[in-house]
Symmetry: C2
Subunit: 418 residues, 2 copies
């Protein structure tokens, strides 16, 4: 597919992440109340205002008056299609709607972005094989790197929905129980191994009750965000046996300000890799269900230039979001509108493709040297991390907006905790 031309001229550049082909959904404000917006070039179309003024009508509406996209999701795929078709037509070069829509554009530079949807529940997976191999090798040696179930199950755990924040939100280094290999007893202290995880997040748009197929799961996904699953490795190492990560992952989970719809990603479908062990039939995919999305991680020390520390692609996943969502329902688990499924850390095969500092610095043993000459094993206070991702079309790209977060120092340990 090639670039679709818009009357919003900034949307016609090969560099913008938001051409007419994309039209991602977010929530923004410019001093007043937050509203639903659609990114187009360097602008945001205020669809809440358009709907309120009767210039944009959706079946079952109003659906855009709550500063969250959940009502649109809940309205179902026919409404998703109708909205996208309407917007793509109205924003196209030469469209008659220019006169009515143009006054509802706001410059992205003037807007503050908010959470694009209300997260119902948050599940995080562990479905990238390079990441699982790297982490497993560090923790259990290369022979036992992959758990026995890994090639059969998209392993996941329930995360904390209240941890999910929008890009730009500062991230306060957590305190927690830590126990080093030489400590006899644990202590309560700031995490010294605070890390990122580069992930994609899939958003459930259609609720389900009972088990659904991979095909149905694929249909039920409304769209995707970039996701940074901030992780305190020292808290995690001490707490995670036997029931999995808990406080290590509860500090914050940052997502991109824009939801890129499954429809916008359709031209970029790609297959999951060859199976090393046959999957059970319920996990078989009938068509390509991953997406070819280039990803990168940038680290910017306070007051310095950034360094790109990793580049990889969403096509490195062993399991698709559709497979994860299907597996999530096997036990009869009800899924809700607004459930968020993290892909798991996305690492490629090479050292420069690794989506966490745990892997990039090999557990702190091989610190990275940044372009500034500084080194990093894990995050330091004042560091800002940015995740970026875009799918590349013929003369255009489809992106999510950066997911940024700056690390603030840990809170002082209260007197009663000393």
């Amino acid at each position: 597919m090639t670039l679709l031309k818009s009357w919003v001229s900034s949307a016609n550049s090969a560099e913008t992440e938001f051409p007419l082909n994309n039209l991602p959904y977010g929530v923004f404000s410019t001093g007043g109340a937050a509203a639903c917006g659609v990114a187009i070039g360097d602008q945001i179309l205020n669809v809440t205002a358009l709907e309120a003024a009767g210039k944009l009508t959706l079946a079952g509406g109003p659906l855009l008056q709550k500063a969250a996209w959940n009502d649109v999701m809940a309205a179902g795929p026919a409404v998703w299609d109708a909205l996208r078709t309407t917007l793509q037509s109205a924003l196209a070069e030469g469209a008659a709607e220019e006169a009515t829509f143009a006054p509802n554009l706001v410059a992205q530079a003037d807007a503050t972005m908010h959470m694009p949807f209300t997260v119902a529940e948050y599940t995080d997976f562990y479905a990238g094989k390079n990441h699982a191999m790297n982490v497993g090798t560090m923790f259990r040696g290369p022979e036992n790197a992959l758990p026995p179930n890994w090639l059969s199950i998209p392993i996941g755990y329930n995360g904390r929905a209240s941890s999910v924040v929008v890009s730009g939100t500062d991230v306060v280094r957590p305190n927690g129980q830590l126990k080093g290999p030489n400590d006899e007893l644990p202590r309560f202290a700031p995490s010294a191994r605070f890390d990122i995880e580069l992930e994609m997040g899939a958003i459930v748009g259609t609720a389900s009750d009972g088990m659904i197929s991979v095909d149905q799961a694929d249909d039920n996904i409304f769209g995707y965000v970039l996701l940074n699953d901030w992780s305190a490795r020292d808290i995690q190492a001490w707490e995670y046996q036997p029931l999995g990560p808990f406080q290590a992952k509860a500090t914050a989970t940052s997502i991109s300000p824009w939801i890129v719809t499954s429809a916008a990603l359709e031209p970029f479908r790609t297959t999951t890799p060859e199976r090393e062990r046959p999957l059970l039939p319920y996990l078989t995919e009938s068509k390509p269900m991953l997406y070819d999305i280039d990803l990168e991680v940038a680290l910017q020390p306070e007051g310095k230039d950034e360094t790109i520390v990793a580049r990889t692609n969403y096509n490195e996943m062993y399991y698709s979001a559709a497979q994860q969502l299907c597996h999530h329902t096997t036990s009869g688990c009800s899924m809700r509108v607004g459930d968020l499924l993290g892909s798991g850390t996305i690492s490629g095969p090479e050292k420069t493709n690794r989506g966490s500092f745990l892997e990039l610095s090999w557990g702190g043993k091989e610190p990275l040297t940044l372009d500034t000459g500084e080194t990093r094993s894990f995050l330091e206070d004042g560091d800002t991390v940015a995740l970026r991702g875009s799918a590349k079309g013929d003369g255009y790209r489809v992106g999510f907006g950066d997911v940024t977060g700056k690390i603030l120092p840990a809170p002082a340990v209260p007197d009663w905790a000393k």
Copy 2:
């Protein structure tokens, strides 16, 4: 404390779980819309109707018009206290309110109970030492039964809020990935080791942002429910490494129809046990934070009489709900009104005190003989399980109502999953 007398005569019996001392909160219906109700003897007081009629006024109200107790929780402890004081006074023997309140009583026998609150997020802990020792011994041998962190951390994991259902809801046996010790590859089949977990659930009534102390956590807990954490042991055994239980625990989590408030449980406070390893200061309790609540598990095969298969007490826990909630916030994790914290399985020291069939039948090796002569290792289709719990005062008791669930057969495996 002794029995407080009410003009609702059935509330004055030593046998009722719902004397004037209790006044637990639920949601009920009798054919029409669901409403908030307060149990008193064998009756339910319709407080939604009283508030709507202007006969019950709460600061910041209306708070009782949404068929859920979340608005009352969010209003804060001063409102909790005021409501309890008002109700205890109005329902007391000789109260002038009898004339206006009596027409708003409904017989419990005529009511259908609904979820008493909207579960924001659900966390389940693993904080009973007898249970942890029993399960650990079965899985890892007696020397490695307790994980190294267990005596320092109230171990918990995030559960699935959408799994929480009210007592009386049928529970459909789950399908899932299973792999027996002699299977070369996993298969997709109904769970053959479907089990219960006898727990208490603490309900967060006051939201928090950032770390809170154990004392503050104790204050933030609105009340308690009985909780059955239905668990598929064969799914759990294959899936739980390395990130913890997932689909094994997502089928259903049943809670009692009545929330017993922390205020009603106040006379029954008791201490957590002696520490075998000193706790870090942040987990220290300044006063007794467990409760002395007798608990029992009954199993009723289809069409047969029930057998009490276990009796224990909430005072068997190693960690209190206040300690769990405090630990939950250490990493800066925000807690919400309506968060539900499962205590973990409550087992006493003896074989007859065990709160799961996994323990009662020692992993299926020592099947139980029921009073009917039948044996059970795990649950069979048609079985109904009831959990019961009550604190014993001087001539009265404070209970939760039974938590029941009947096991229905697993859904047929769909063609695409064969």
